[in-house]
Symmetry: C2
Subunit: 462 residues, 2 copies
Amino acid sequence: MGTKNLQNFFDPLSVAIVGASHDQKKLGYIVLENFVRENFHGMLFPVNPDTTPILGKEVYPSVKKIPEKVDLAVVIVPAFAVSKVLKECVEKKISNVIVISSGFSEIGGRGIVLEQRLKKIIEVAKGRTSVVGPNCIGVFNPKTKIDTMFLSRERLRRPREGNIAFISQSGAVGSTVLDWLAQEGIGISKFVSYGNGIDVNETDFLEFFADDKDTHVVAMYLEGMKGEGEEFLQAMRKTTSKKPVVVLKAGKTEKGTKAAASHTGSLAGSARIYSGAFKQTNTIEAGNWEELFDFVKTFSMQPPPKGNKLAIITDGGGFGVLATDEAERQKLELPEPSLILKKKLQSKMPAHVKTHNPMDVTGDANMERYWYAMEAMLGSKEYDGAVVISLMQVPTLEPKIVDAVVEMKKFEKPILVCAVGSDFTQRVERNFENNRIPVFPTPERAVRAFAAMWNYKKYLQK
Amino acid sequence: MGTKNLQNFFDPLSVAIVGASHDQKKLGYIVLENFVRENFHGMLFPVNPDTTPILGKEVYPSVKKIPEKVDLAVVIVPAFAVSKVLKECVEKKISNVIVISSGFSEIGGRGIVLEQRLKKIIEVAKGRTSVVGPNCIGVFNPKTKIDTMFLSRERLRRPREGNIAFISQSGAVGSTVLDWLAQEGIGISKFVSYGNGIDVNETDFLEFFADDKDTHVVAMYLEGMKGEGEEFLQAMRKTTSKKPVVVLKAGKTEKGTKAAASHTGSLAGSARIYSGAFKQTNTIEAGNWEELFDFVKTFSMQPPPKGNKLAIITDGGGFGVLATDEAERQKLELPEPSLILKKKLQSKMPAHVKTHNPMDVTGDANMERYWYAMEAMLGSKEYDGAVVISLMQVPTLEPKIVDAVVEMKKFEKPILVCAVGSDFTQRVERNFENNRIPVFPTPERAVRAFAAMWNYKKYLQK
């Protein structure tokens, strides 16, 4: 646990690619190419019995023949050959090893025996060598250009640098999230998929990200635990005291638990036990896939609210109603403006605009009307944050609405935007998010994200 | 009710635009331009006291001066002038009038008086003139090119021709949905937003769409009712016996109800009463905004299942687990394949693929492996439909997976796809939907859409 050196998984100075291939279709070629193409700043040592250079790089017949110190070995050789390579890595005193290769406990039978052999080697190494995998896609760090994923950039775009760390048990779920984050222009600090998790697991990474300065929020996709329950709880408690952790737990129903067991051999355990543990440790539980994404995005962009008094500002009354329904369900407060605040609002609004919460600035609102509503409501002590519904289909609302909303950051209260539509709206949306104002396609999702922030903050204030 | 002629709202042979303007910024110009630009096939009569031609069209000083029969008048004049125009429309025996103008009961005070005057004129006309509005964006029909919406095409794209009819009380919600449908490439048969609904309302349109051959599914956004409850229930019952109706009801919580009352003056009523009424009439209730969209899209593309036995086929085990959790929550059955079916599946799969439901064809699956799984499972009597999770990030899965899925339509069972990711995935997704296979970004949403279809069908089978 605490003694493990995880830093080298994400920021090594020298990397050996064991199983680097001359064949462009092989994973061992693709992974080496990631490092070369992205101009990895450290030293690179391809390893292959055939020492013909690959991509202009000198190739070594084994890790033991590498003349320099090696911080990280990435292993992509057939399952039966992994134990020999791992032994050599230990002998070479390589502190960190990622085993990409599959064909271990996940296929049963002989794979279980092979995995046992790896575990024994790790045991003997007594913490001097930490192993991620096997059967994983490994690590991605946009800052240091570490990328052990064997999935092509055409199909799986890489997200840019940001402040979200993402721990995924499943490689497929993990890579899909990365592709989606890239599409949405949202950055990550570090990503890891640890597969069968025979050595380093969710607990170790959670502890590591708790102290990682580049990480402001941690996202986890979890089917079951690889490590010990008590240690995991401790790591969650420690991490959430420093930064929010959002978890999507799969295998919550009886059938889902069974499916998880068949998928990764994890004991998914009772949904209630997990949900209880998440509540106790102030871990935010995402109800589904989209919530994981929404919550993490929000935490990465906005400060949590100091209270649960939400202002809703909208140019579409119907959307205000839907937002109100969701706020009630999420137990947020939607106080009416005080008489003083009402007067202040009315003085700047045309007669047909009524001053309530939701504040319906109506379909002929322009940027100025939004500005006055936000300035008055967020500037008062009556509200802790706002969901701003900005339907761009109406002719009066100009794209500079973004500037008005961005200006409101001065109040240091969270502001979440709801906007939905085609090309025009999407350009405005991108502009909002480039300014760290998260945008949601439905009023309900915006309100739920606000509630997630409040639930996290509320616990810390106790 | 039944005596009202609604056809002319959507398919008139001659249209008067009352308040057609010479000023390109005015709504009366934009609406006329819609008709001219889209080459409306019928006769067009702009009406304005200033009879200088607009867009090359002869202008008439009043509807009464139009020498031809007029099927539909679209009224875009200041609120105080509407009653005079409406009276003239009645005298001219125009059967259908859409009043776009706002400034009526929604602004209170004098607006209420003006609205009462309109009601009186309608009463006197005794059903010879049907009115949509006031305070609405009116009607859009991509087939006949009727488009009374005053929102620019740059900001609000129009969806193509399709089989979804959409009734929206709110103009903002309605136009946002249209823009989104256009973005997603999904077509509609007819759209109407009826605003204050002083004459024709949700009940009338529901009855009309029940018998409309171009409409296969009806979507409604409802805050409260404008018509009588009993008539509305009858119309729902009648319509759902012929085609699915999906409703998003806003104002479900106490605060939401209040917000709705302030927005459209509708009595939103108790959520329980509505939910009960929806269940009784086999109306599918969408829990939120995205569900309305998902359910309607699914009904418009796929046949409902004959039973609730769902097959899940996936190349990502984690997504299979999430889909299983949701299927359990939705009370769908996920039977394991029979021994015979298991053998059939195993004979075509590599050793590391285990035959269960979810059927995890694993991350190295190619198109053929999906084909065998779908052919065997959907071809058997053991399953009523499938959710196919197809994560395109893996290198082995080719875009021709679309052909394999489309071929399975031969079994006449619903097939829903889950795929999520960036450019590459999105191209494949569009190809699926062009072939009427709905695609969802999360496994949970795909499963909920399947459940909505089953809930509709189950009731019909009783």
